[in-house]
Symmetry: C2
Subunit: 353 residues, 2 copies
């Protein structure tokens, strides 16, 4: 249906991780070893650097790793739009272009989020029927994990955007994260109708109209997020971005606070040493590296933003998720689901927004 | 200026705490003992219950404790508006009425938030020049604490609402929390102009126009919240409510996760035992009970919502904060600051919104 899904190759921007290209390449090798890559991996970046790295790791003539040269690198502090104009041969740009050309079915990058988002949005067309793409983020919960979208691509949403985000999140949870009947919630300030804003009211009405096309559980509030009550949290890019960053800030504060208190006495420090395994296990369960990064959804082709400090395991996991999305034909399913929803709600969409 | 501030008495709804009226009365006694109440305390609730409690605690003829009878109690699960209609003699209603009548300068209640908010908004007039009141919430940070408003009174804000919230937050931080030059930030999804929504853009323009009337540090993002960079976080009631509840959910999940991991081995449990002091100290520093609860700001008279599970210390602290607000003349300062701001920005306000 979508020609992009005909290829199972994955493009990996090797230049974006804080840990350097050697770590990214090691992640590529790990993904292949574990059987997580459904096709070849195209490693994108500075030719001389990557040739050296591949040589060192004994991967120069690996039958499933290819090198695609890109002479420039977009830095974390570069401005999104300017960087795309001035660095046309940047590794993240080339990785996205390989998806655009149909050479690869997905791209993975740990580079500058804004640049990657802008590049993918400009170069890859949206899925037919979707007006705005969404940046999603996968969060850990006590038992599981859940997807939040949008976390910043579209701060000022219309009801139909939220409708589409519900479908994009549903399809991603199903095809990339292997959640069979994802529970979709619309984030508001109470579970009763009419407690939120005009935007949540209208989006809620649209979502109710979908019937059993998705498993819509209705309006949810912040209390329910980490509580294993929901698999996909739908919200506008302003709210999503604010809670993403606020949670990161709270988490850092709590770690700092406990560390500070523990350091106040040798007994507490001894206790922390004994507890170390437990704290590490808890931290591991929360580790965003396991979840393959933040996908940009609603475009023709899968683009995954991995964390800037990704190590080989994080890269391998991002490849695993991208591979699952390709194998399950996320692109074709998304196109069909969006078209289905737009058809079901065509009267409401025509009159409402 | 405001006749409400002429009285230093504080009305305390004795019926709303999960811990029962005896605990609330013990908190009243504690506040008086510590010198935290600038005037008398009027304890509001069921006469026979409170007479018994006062008797038991040897407070029946305390010169600074008065009893005001209210025969009904609004329960936590009651619907806000309905409860106000059906329970006209409820303790939280009477406590607010004592403020309305000028008998008390402030009211403290741990009861149903929605009912308290609705009751105060219906019964107390807004400060002149303020169109919508805000519910504020005081949060702990590593070094300090900060105020977030609105956390749910007004989910759909206009720019002028956010302007007024900045001033209400500024004045509360200064007069009730004793922060001398509070740093005010407007919550957005980046610190650059134009990255948020039309609402944040327009509110930011208004706030910049205030000059040195407040210490406006500009647009902030979620990362900065618990980082001791800001004393007052201004946001709309939708976003504020969502982050309040999401942070509570994350905090619960983290506690659950660590407990679960610790229980997996006796060594870890021994470690947790040694660390106990540190964990408890950390928890104490985060304790919302120290911060006196959530004030409803922008009304003529101070109304504080204390946590539903408030113990005597929490009640005493709420009385302390209410007392500080009365002593510092929060009401008069707020009226003057709002009028000042509206005057400074009158052209922008007339044209803009």
């Amino acid at each position: 249906m979508e020609e992009k899904n005909s290829t199972k190759a994955i493009a990996v921007d090797a230049m974006g991780s804080d840990m350097g290209p050697a770590e990214v390449v090691a992640g590529v090798a790990m993904a292949i070893e574990k059987g997580w890559a459904p096709g070849n991996i195209v490693v994108v970046g500075k030719e001389e650097v990557l040739e050296g790295v591949l040589e060192e790791q004994g991967l120069s003539s690996h039958p499933r790793i290819e090198l695609f040269a890109a002479s420039e690198v977009i830095a974390m502090q570069d401005k999104p739009i300017q960087s795309l104009r001035s660095k046309k041969d940047a590794s993240l740009v080339r990785a996205v272009e390989l998806v655009k050309l149909g050479t690869c079915g997905a791209a993975v990058s740990c580079g500058n989020t804004g640049s990657l988002m802008a590049c993918a949005t400009l170069k890859l067309r949206p899925v037919e029927g979707v007006s705005k793409p969404a940046l999603a983020s996968v969060w850990p919960s006590l038992e599981n994990r859940f997807v939040v979208l949008d976390v910043g691509a579209n701060p000022q949403c219309r009801p139909e955007n939220l409708l589409h985000y519900a479908i994009l999140g549903h399809q991603y949870a199903q095809d990339a994260l292997d959640i069979s009947k994802p529970r979709i919630g619309l984030l508001s300030i109470g579970t009763e109708e009419g407690k939120g804003t005009d935007l949540t009211d209208q989006a809620h009405n649209l979502l109710k109209g979908l019937g059993d096309q998705i498993n819509y559980i209705g309006l949810i509030e912040g209390f329910q997020l980490f509580n294993n009550e929901v698999d996909v949290v739908v919200t506008d890019g302003f709210t999503g971005n604010v809670i993403l960053k606020t949670c990161e800030s709270l988490w850092k504060m709590l770690k700092g606070l406990v560390t500070e208190e523990v350091r106040k006495s040798p007994i507490r420090m001894a206790g922390a040493l004994l507890m170390k395994g437990g704290l590490k296990a808890a931290k591991n369960r929360l580790d965003p590296k396991k979840h393959g990064g933040a996908p940009l959804l609603g475009l023709r082709g899968t683009v995954l933003k991995a964390h800037g400090s990704s190590d080989r395991e994080a890269i391998a996991n991002a490849i695993r998720i991208a591979g699952t999305a390709i194998e399950h034909d996320l692109g074709a399913h998304t196109l069909a689901a969006i078209s289905n929803a737009n058809e079901t709600l065509k009267d409401q969409l025509a009159s409402g927004n």
